[in-house]
């Protein structure tokens, strides 16, 4: 009996360890570095997370792009504030905003700013107020490629646009060779993969193409892929999997999916050197963004053609969406306290380990001010 019980406990411990490991790998933290700093944060968090009088259940849903970031935050936050439970359901941005404007959730996550009709719809649930965008998580969209014998590849926006529009179809094309004089480019068909499902990643990637290469990209940016031709697969993990197994493939996905030896393209901007897809370089580019939201809304307009050195132009920003006034009384304290935490230095500091880019100081300061004024 005793032995059995011991075994069971050991099993439970094992299961915990496995699921913990899974959660960590899901965050995209590459090694023990992420693990230990996470631990430190939780130790320090006890003093820094202000629970105030937050309690109860917090329902939220939306963008799957920020799922890993929210998971990391929730883990820390719930450990500090025992009375609060937070469920974030990665249903996709569209469904998340719909759930929010129907009053089902306390906040929504979205990878694009609210549209005017969505703001209008939010006035039903926000008494005397409206829904606002709070930029919280940034991330580089990496362009992964699989070309045998080529380790580093630099491309600029017009070339990328032509590749994804099936105008450049072979890796030994002159346009690519010109940007990569040192690379041994093989005679290999280019297989450009895009998302077959609707996605904020596609939205941001096509916004970049349209903005940085308007002559070569004739399609309207959007969540569904407009260009003809090319291959497609479902989800970022589907794209990453195809790049890994298909020689000649090129595709786009969040940086955290570019692991297991997937190489990413350096983007040639106006800067002297092609820019690598890294978290820091993404933060540098988001720093050039302008706030275009009115009132308390902090919707950003990203600059897809940054001239600064080390600013990676293909970035995506996800927002948390709440009411500026008229949040539900029972969830307001918990919402405010959780948002305060994720906008704090500790909260933003966690992002890097999860493969996301923290918001630049200037923007996050405004976010903090706005959160303190929520009612």
């Amino acid at each position: 009996m005793k032995l059995q019980r011991m075994n069971r406990r050991a099993l439970a411990l094992g299961a915990l360890a496995v699921s913990g490991a899974l959660a960590l790998t899901a965050c995209g933290s590459d090694d023990t570095g992420g693990n230990s700093s996470g631990g430190d944060a939780s130790a320090a968090a006890d003093s820094n997370i202000k629970c105030d009088d937050a309690k109860g259940q917090l329902q939220a849903s939306g963008s799957s792009a920020q799922k890993n970031a929210i998971d990391a935050w929730v883990k820390q936050y719930v450990a500090a504030c025992n009375g609060v439970q937070i469920n974030y359901n990665p249903t996709g941005s569209g469904a998340g905003i719909t759930a929010f404007t129907q009053g089902q959730t306390a906040f929504a996550g979205s990878d694009s700013a609210l549209k005017p009709d969505e703001i209008e719809a939010s006035k039903k649930v926000c008494k005397d107020g409206q829904a606002i965008d709070l930029p919280m998580v940034g991330g580089p969209i990496a362009v992964g490629f699989n070309v045998p014998g080529v380790d580093t590849l630099a491309l600029d926006a017009p070339t990328l646009a032509k590749i994804f529009d099936s105008q450049i179809t072979n890796w030994n094309d002159e346009a690519i060779a010109k940007l990569n004089p040192d690379a041994k480019l093989p005679d290999l068909k280019i297989q450009a993969f895009h998302r077959s499902d609707e996605s904020g990643t596609t939205d941001n990637f096509t916004k970049y193409l349209k903005d940085a290469a308007p002559k070569d990209w004739k399609y309207e940016p959007g969540k569904s892929w407009e260009a003809k031709g090319g291959q497609s697969a479902q989800g970022s993990s589907g794209l990453a999997g195809q790049v890994k197994q298909t020689p000649g493939a090129i595709s786009y996905f969040e940086l955290s999916y570019a692991k297991d030896g997937i190489k990413t393209v350096d983007i040639k901007t106006q800067a002297a050197e092609p820019v690598k897809a890294t978290v820091d370089n993404a933060t540098a580019a988001i720093g050039a963004a302008k706030v275009v939201g009115t009132g308390k809304d902090l919707a950003l307009e990203l600059d897809y053609t940054p001239a600064a050195d080390g600013a990676y132009p293909i970035v995506l920003v996800t927002y948390e969406i709440v009411c500026d006034k008229g949040n539900k009384a029972e969830t307001l304290p918990a919402t405010k306290s959780f948002l305060n935490y994720i906008a704090s230095e500790d909260g933003q500091g966690l992002l890097k380990d999860a493969g996301y880019a923290p918001m630049p100081t200037e923007i996050i300061t405004k976010v903090r001010e706005t959160i303190s004024g929520l009612s």
């Binding site: 249903t91 609707e198 003809k228």
Partner: protein
């Protein structure tokens, strides 16, 4: 005396037919006992409930579909566009009809002959033990969830299709249907092959049961006339089982038409039609709904519901057609003998 113990009698025969007298009266009263009335109410209620649920679903779907289609700026049936959240919204199902029908036809073309062959082998050729083993394996194949087929298809089948695609391109490329531009083989042909494997168990199992029903007399008569084994199958088994094979194929086709996850994982859907089955082109209804639903706006969701309705109608038509064929064939088959 026995009348009261037979539940069918009172319901089948109206009261006036009961012989008068004590027993008759008791029988008549028996028909309206509380238990009978409750049971009648429950079963009638269940029947009505099913109809009501179906009507509610149909009404809801038609209403939402109408909301979307009335806003559609492109032709819903012929447009090669899927942009329901655009301004103005434009979407059409032409590509989805093409992809759904083509992939299902490929699947049927492969699966039906193979399944009938397996079923015949199990029932008429294989030793009893071997037949049982094969039937068991086929049953296992039916129990694999479609997402697992999808994983297998995307990670194993697709990378191993290059050889077949190259061969088809070299020898049959001139037809245009089997032209291959060298892209990853995530095309309708690959999907058709995967679907064929998925619907194989259903068709095999149903055909096998039908072939088992062939009257021994028919086969023995054929044998007595000096028929070979193949001739027995051709003259007595296949004609007897024809309507059964058709029903089995329809069950399989139903699954092929509606298959979602496996297709979504294997196909490279595009919103244009390609004559070649080896290059990406087309998508299927169910795959399109699964892919677009998560991020869909209200309008987008209604458009997807509209496409779902079309799939529903196609399935109805196919099933109706199959029933007509079966009904017509019945007279010629041995089913009525």
């Amino acid at each position: 005396m026995d009348i009261t113990t037979d539940p069918q009698k009172p319901a089948a025969a109206p009261v006036p037919h009961q012989p008068p007298g004590k027993d008759g009266k008791r029988a008549a009263r028996g028909a309206t006992r509380p238990g009978d009335r409750i049971f009648l109410g429950l079963s009638r209620g269940s029947g009505i409930l099913v109809l009501a649920i179906m009507a509610a679903i149909a009404a809801f779907l038609s209403y939402r579909a109408w909301l979307a289609i009335s806003e559609d700026e492109a032709n819903f049936f012929t447009s090669f566009e899927w942009n329901p959240s655009g301004i103005p919204p434009e979407f059409g199902i032409a590509v989805l009809v093409f992809g759904t029908v083509v992939s299902s036809v490929i699947a049927m073309a492969i699966a039906v002959p193979v399944s009938v062959g397996i079923a015949l082998f199990i029932t008429h050729y294989a030793p009893r033990k071997l037949g049982g083993a094969i039937a068991y394996v086929i049953d296992l194949l039916a129990a694999v969830p479609s997402i697992v087929y999808g994983l297998w298809g995307a990670l194993f089948l697709v990378p191993h299709m290059d050889g077949l695609f190259g061969w088809l391109d070299e020898y049959l490329g001139w037809t245009g249907i089997f032209e291959w531009s060298g892209g990853a083989p995530r095309s309708l042909l690959t999907v058709g092959i995967l679907l064929a494997i998925m619907i194989l168990p259903i068709i095999t199992n149903v055909s096998r049961e039908v072939f088992r029903q062939v009257p021994r007399m028919h086969e023995e008569a054929a044998l007595a006339l000096g028929a070979t084994r193949w001739e027995v199958i051709r003259m007595s088994v296949i004609p007897f089982g024809r309507s059964g094979i058709i029903s089995a194929s329809m069950l399989g086709l139903g699954r092929a038409l509606g298959e979602t996850m496996a297709v979504a994982m294997v196909l490279s859907p595009t919103f244009d039609i390609n004559a070649s089955l080896l290059d990406p082109g087309g998508g299927t209804f169910a795959q399109n709904i699964a892919s677009k639903f998560n991020e869909a706006t209200v309008m987008g969701r209604d458009a997807l519901i509209a496409s779902g309705l079309v799939l529903f109608v196609i399935t109805l038509l196919v099933n109706g057609g199959a029933r007509m064929i079966i009904a017509r064939r019945k007279e010629y088959s041995g089913a009525n003998a």
